[in-house]
Amino acid sequence: MRYFLRVDSGREFELDVEERPGGQCIVKVDGEEIRADFLDVDRLGQYTAIVDHRSFAVSIEEQDPQHLQVNIAGESYTVVAMDEREKAAGEVAGQGPPKAEIIKASMPGVLIDVSVKVGDVLEAGAGVAILEAMKMQNEVVCLHGGVVEEVLVKTGESVDANQPLVRLAPPQED
């Protein structure tokens, strides 16, 4: 299977993984063939990888199958990993119509200020509320922007992580 990977520094990789009987893999990258052995250690996120006889204690946190946080030797990398099919589909989806957005609390806390009301037009990245957690105030922002359709919380309310705060309709086309 061919994979397309982008690391947070912007560096991109394209590589082929071939599985051999017994679980060993051959990874083809930059015209090089590398022997690799990769095993799940504890089913909690720790893995062991032997890449061309170099050994790495790896841990991975999976946001979803495509978005991975890969930690090796104290260094942490955010990797977007797509297979061929997803890459093709992703490129098509990127050209589709803008989607409605639901803004959620990034962490549990108390809403100090909910600054939007129904009908407000928000640019991408605009603030919608101030969330206080761990004695610090953080601004909650929208990703794509749009028109506020519903405000689901009010100032002073305690919220859980991922609790929806504000629902936006897609921005109007000019």
Partner: protein, 514 residues
């Protein structure tokens, strides 16, 4: 002070949580003292509850509803027949009224006297006491200025840049740096207003602003018989917004003579308020001169590195002092070797160090020679917004600075904390930066390092192209999980078709019938 009553401590209540509560419990076990824990609702599973001999619920979630409830904690101490209370740090540790109420109830408070807390807790009274004791202070006022006009006059005398500080201040509130006369009026009004709001006291005074100083502090320990010792310095300049990240002992820039001078000044500072128990005298160091900043009248987070280089258990010493025992006179103690501490905080260095909340889904602790972990963390612990984000303290000890540094690199490479973002990654980079390696850093270094990340020369230990390995590993992970998902979907609706499951069931069935 020779007729101090000696009352042995047998049962100690710890009015705290997290790693410091666990740390205190450990010394208690070493001393054969029973421990009593208190806990808030979210802390029912916490390590400090599980490690205690007895545990009492405080109720409530926020600190105000739980660990700050002095009345409730004292009630529990009486009910549990505790003969001492250790407040740890934060919460009630520097609350003189609490200390007084505890002692009035016939229970030993493991900390200094309310008088010492009161004098050192107010910045102006502390400055006045220090000047009287001959301890060098930052040039500036010993009395509050009346208004903005007087502030401007004083600023001219001291010379710009100056710091406007709230007398009752703390936590960075009511503080302004003023670089020229045109800014002083506005700065005075906003800072004074802020202080009035935060502390109910708007009194302001001025100090010379030291440019790029180092933060160096001296550990002291006194008993109730008039002895005060110092245990050398800790270098705490690697901090951001007054939050320390990496500390080391000894400081790479303090020689034996300066250590003696600073140590003597710290002892004089402590003696000026008849100090007993453990305390820390903080100094600003600039171009070979040092000035008293403040005294923290409690055990500090970073006490562990002093313990490593002086071979002392400061918590145990605090308990002995509270019981009325004399500390051994070990004047002339010298540090042996070098210790470095990294604070493992649940925070995101890539996102302005905002707290990172979540469940610690995975955990791999380091170990080996010269490694000490003081922690309250366990796998599946939830990091909540209610308390401080510090999860653990990682301490590396070596015969010299370079060995300690290399051991800390090993610690950070072995460590893994999954589920929340932590300060471990940025600490690893700093420990490999030129500024840290040469010891040439000040209180502005960390902020600058973070802002210019990627530009700094980092001498990485591991030769591999880890970014490329991360990409390879990500692809392998996708390949393997895709294979597993296919297998799982093949098995839907019929685990019985899986020969392994069937075999396992057969075996189990066989065992039962036998």
């Amino acid at each position: 002070m020779s007729n101090v009553p000696q009352t042995p401590i047998k049962r100690l209540l710890i009015a705290n949580r997290g790693e410091i509560a666990v740390r205190i419990q450990r010394s208690c076990r070493d001393l054969g003292i029973e421990t009593i824990a208190v806990y808030s609702e979210p802390d029912r599973h916490a390590l400090h509850v599980r490690f205690a001999n007895e545990a009492y619920a405080l109720g409530g979630k926020t600190p105000a509803e739980s660990y700050l409830r002095a009345d409730r904690i004292l009630e529990i101490a009486k009910e549990a027949k505790a003969d001492a209370i250790h407040p740890g740090f934060g919460f009630l540790a520097e609350n003189g009224d609490f200390a007084e109420a505890v002692e009035a109830a016939g229970i030993r408070f493991v900390g200094p006297s309310p008088h010492a807390m009161a004098v050192m807790g107010d910045k102006l009274s502390a400055r006045t006491a220090m000047i009287a004791a001959g301890v060098p202070v930052v040039p500036g006022n010993t009395e509050a200025v009346a208004d903005a006009v007087e502030a401007a006059k004083e600023a001219e005398l001291i010379g710009y840049p100056v710091m406007l500080k709230a007398s009752a201040g703390g936590g960075g509130k009511g503080i302004r740096v003023v670089h020229n006369p045109s800014e002083i009026e506005a700065a005075f009004l906003t800072a004074s207003g802020e202080a009035l709001n935060a502390f109910g006291d708007g009194r302001m005074y001025l100090e010379k602003f030291l440019v790029e100083p180092r933060h160096i502090e001296i550990q002291v320990l006194g008993d109730k018989h008039g002895t005060v010792l110092h245990f050398g310095e800790r270098e705490c300049s690697l901090q951001r917004r007054h939050q320390k990240l990496i500390e080391e002992a000894p400081s790479p820039i303090i020689d034996e003579e300066t250590r003696m001078q600073m140590g003597n000044a710290a002892v004089a500072a402590a003696k000026a308020v008849d100090y007993f128990s453990a305390g820390t005298v903080e100094f600003l160091w600039s171009k070979g001169e040092f000035f008293f900043l403040e005294m923290n009248t409690r055990i500090q987070v970073e006490h562990g590195i002093t313990e490593e280089v002086y071979g002392v258990d400061l918590i145990a010493q605090m308990i002995r002092v509270a019981a009325g025992e004399k500390i051994d006179d070990c004047t002339g103690l010298v540090p042996r070797g070098h210790a470095i501490e990294v604070r493992l905080n649940a925070e995101d260095p890539d996102n302005q160090f905002l707290p990172s909340l979540g469940v610690i889904g995975n955990l791999r602790w380091p170990g080996g020679p010269g490694v000490r972990i003081d922690s309250g963390v366990y796998r599946s612990m939830e990091v909540t917004p209610y308390y401080d984000s510090m999860l653990a303290k990682l301490i590396a000890y070596g015969r010299d600075r370079e060995q300690a540094r290399r051991r800390m690199l090993r610690v950070l490479q072995e460590l893994h904390v999954g589920g929340v973002k932590t300060s471990a990654g940025i600490a690893l980079q700093i420990l490999q930066s030129d500024g840290f390696i040469t010891g040439d850093y000040d209180t502005a270094y960390l902020e600058k390092f973070v802002a210019e990340r990627g530009k700094h020369e980092v001498q990485r230990e591991i030769p591999d192209d880890l970014e490329r390995i991360a990409a390879i590993v990500a692809a392998l992970h996708r390949q393997k999980t895709a294979a597993r998902r296919v297998m799982q979907s093949d098995n839907t609706g019929g685990a019985k078709t899986n020969p392994w499951v069937t075999a396992a069931r057969r075996e189990q069935h066989g065992r039962i019938s036998r």
